[in-house]
């Protein structure tokens, strides 16, 4: 199956910024959807999405046509999310702000609240564990998928996930949550 973006990506790789702009237009909802589970605020989310695309632009010469562009881009954004968790841990900032621009219905509010609550709990874990559990629990990925997105080996991801779940279990217990 041929990649539908092949032509656009090839043009972008040759330095055509307009072609890359079309790719940004097309993929920003997907990248936003990936990163909004990491970002603590709307401003952070915008920065992360932007950062992902700029990283992709710089890395375009390394892109190989045999891998679908969409998947390649998602991996870049997942790693941007991982870097974000690491930066936040280093700067010791732990406020959780609400992302304001959501569709205003009761069900999405509940989902938003649940996401904020889950993010708060995950925010108590070390950066890598937090990022990994974000993929596993909030994106519903498998260990293999998470490993692929972060560029880790499956073995490393399994060990990290085991440790992360132990830490999470302790955090949940400390805050009176059940699994």
């Amino acid at each position: 199956m041929t990649d539908p973006d092949l032509e656009l990506v090839r043009r972008a790789r040759d330095g055509d910024a307009l072609a890359f702009g079309e790719l940004v237009e097309k993929y920003q909802p997907i990248i936003t959807s990936m990163l909004h589970r990491f970002a603590a605020s709307h401003a952070d989310l915008e920065d992360l999405v932007q950062e992902s695309f700029i990283k992709a632009w710089r890395a375009l010469p390394k892109w190989e046509p045999r891998q679908p562009f969409a998947h390649w881009l998602r991996r870049i954004s997942a790693r941007t999310g991982l870097d974000y968790c690491r930066r936040r841990k280093r700067s010791r900032i732990t406020p959780v702000e609400h992302l304001p621009e959501t569709i205003d219905t009761a069900s999405t509010d509940t989902a938003r609240e649940a996401l904020d609550e889950a993010r708060q709990l995950l925010g108590r874990l070390p950066a890598d564990e937090r990022a990994l559990l974000t993929l596993l629990y909030l994106h519903g990925m498998t260990i293999d998928e998470a490993a692929d997105h972060f560029g880790w080996t499956t073995a490393k991801t399994k060990i990290r996930a085991f440790r992360a779940r132990q830490l999470l279990r302790r955090t949940l217990k400390n805050h009176g949550y059940e699994e």
Partner: protein, 96 residues
């Protein structure tokens, strides 16, 4: 988190199941990205580093054959080195 009492508190499974339904906000970063990349040409492809090569070998389960090949290569080089030294000694003995 602590404001919720135990009766209303959801379990972690319920929380994550709900959280997965949260809709991302609509954002548009096209202009910001375009101005960000305007003066940055896409970087030329760098040759793969040694570390990347090792990572690829291990990632593809080629570690054992690669180590075996490395051991054979070391053995061959060592053997050739010994033979070379013998040869040099022999030549040197003639010249004395």
């Amino acid at each position: 988190m602590d404001t919720k009492n135990d009766e209303t508190r959801r379990t972690w499974s319920e929380l994550t199941a709900l959280a997965r339904n949260a809709q991302p906000p609509a954002i548009d970063v096209r202009h910001a990205v375009m101005s960000g990349i305007r003066h940055q040409p896409a970087a030329p492809a760098a040759p793969p580093s040694m570390l990347a090569t090792v990572e690829v070998l291990f990632g593809r389960g080629l570690a054992k054959p690669a180590l075996a090949l490395f051991a054979v290569a070391c053995g061959t080089i060592g053997y050739a080195g010994c033979r070379g030294l013998d040869l040099i000694e022999l030549v040197a003995s003639f010249s004395l």
